[in-house]
Symmetry: C2
Subunit: 278 residues, 2 copies
């Protein structure tokens, strides 16, 4: 569910990108379980004064993304909203039951990997809020039109590689926390290894950047765990896909999320991720 | 999608009835195609100041209805709303492909049937708006907690009886219009045969009652067409189910919806049903 004023700001985005993102964030949830997105249902609450062209362009964005990933739009609902645009999407995906990846399987000794870069969307959002959309344009674009890691998620699941997986929507710490909670485990993360977007260090203080990398949401990268025996296979697989993948830490038996700096000393952290009701 | 202030008013309903209705209206859409509802996904946009007890009771209403019809709640989303409660539900149903009933199959000569009574929900809504909730309590209850015709829809589809079917959500004329449009046909309706709730004639003028019967929405009764050869089977089937069913007219080749009174003379009509964007 995406609500105007909560999840998006119509003065920052255009309807086509908003449509693309609305589909992408749902495809990302399917990808995070190793599934192929197949069917999409779209429900829209539309303010009376919203131009028809807006709805047409928004739909075109949904259709763009659906076509890109072979997804059929099969239903939904349309109604009038008296309080801003309301978007609710349900996506159904497919994967063989024994290949579905859950949050529950991370075991002590497993390595922790992340695709792409982390914190980019939050940097982009900060630029939009500050009206500096000419700077860090790749981060701004990443915030407005993220790419769901569908091919990567399916490839990992088909190969039976991850022990647990999630997509980073609420922030790395928060989403890793979901895996740790469901897997009844802890983790050690080397914060200096977490990949951030090129150029961010020049725009933000080290502390602010670390905050966004650890707690900025909406990257829609995959965060997954796998036994050390799979490490070489993972690098080879991602080399073929042309997608960056980085090892950032490991799962521990101790129920604690420990952040370490380059020297292996515990790193401070001010924030913990996005809480929908904070 | 159900939006506070558009589809419901929290000063008229309680959270448990609202939960029940939110599930029911979705089950009704499945029933209208002859399907068995199987899986439910619930997305909620929750205002920060809404008490947790409200959400608990709302969920209990959803669970009530889901249990009643053997439906599993399998997923959804929760987020914070800055503009009232937002409810979006997706229900998946099952039926054999060759038994699914669509809006497209009504043929000239087919009879038109409706289950239960029509206009009751609109009468109940009028009572709620007028603050007269002690009057016509069965209509008020019908508006706040309608019963989806799941058993009836499945029985009809399993028996291969209806040529076309829809549920009455926007109003009889409007929803019949959907069948006529998709079936490329017209209809003659005897307005005096349309069943209304007991007691309504004592509370409303004949013209006002006719308006609500023809155009009041949210009855969630089934409106279906069938060839005359199936008429006896239909009465027998509904006798067994213990549900009222009434023949109200017939499908015509002429592309026109004709409303006739008891004497077979064309009846006047002021309204046409609910338009979400009027």
């Amino acid at each position: 569910m995406l609500l105007e004023g909560v999840h998006f700001n119509l003065s920052w985005t255009d309807p086509r990108r908003l449509g693309r993102k609305s589909a992408s964030v749902n495809f990302s949830d399917i990808a995070a379980m190793g599934g192929r997105p197949r069917y999409l249902l779209l429900s829209l609450g539309i303010p009376k004064n919203l131009p028809v062209e807006f709805v047409d362009n928004f739909m075109q964005g949904i259709i763009d993304r659906a076509n890109e990933f072979g997804v059929s739009i099969i239903g939904g609902d349309t109604c009038c909203s008296e309080a801003g645009l309301v978007i609710s999407i349900t996506v159904l995906g497919e994967q063989a039951p024994d290949r579905v990846i859950r949050r529950t399987g991370a075991a002590p000794g497993d390595l922790i990997f992340v695709t792409g870069t982390v914190g980019s969307s939050a940097v982009g959002l900060a630029m939009l809020k500050a009206g500096k959309t000419e700077e860090m344009t790749h981060c701004v674009e990443r915030h407005l039109d993220p790419s769901p890691r569908v091919l990567e998620g399916v490839a990992l699941a088909d190969a039976g590689v991850p022990s647990a997986m999630i997509d980073i929507s609420d922030g790395l710490l928060s989403d890793l926390g979901h895996i740790l909670e469901r897997s009844d485990a802890g983790a050690r993360i080397r914060v200096d290894l977490i990949p951030s977007a090129p150029g961010t260090a020049g725009h933000l203080s080290p502390d602010d950047l670390l905050d966004l990398v650890l707690s900025g949401g909406e990257d829609y990268e995959l965060l997954f765990t796998a036994p050390p025996s799979k490490e070489a296979q993972i690098y080879s697989m991602f080399g073929t896909l042309g997608t960056a993948v980085t090892r950032i830490g490991e799962i521990t038996a101790e129920h604690r999320l420990l952040l370490l700096n380059r020297e292996g000393v515990e790193a401070p952290c001010r924030r913990k991720g996005y809480d929908h009701f904070s």
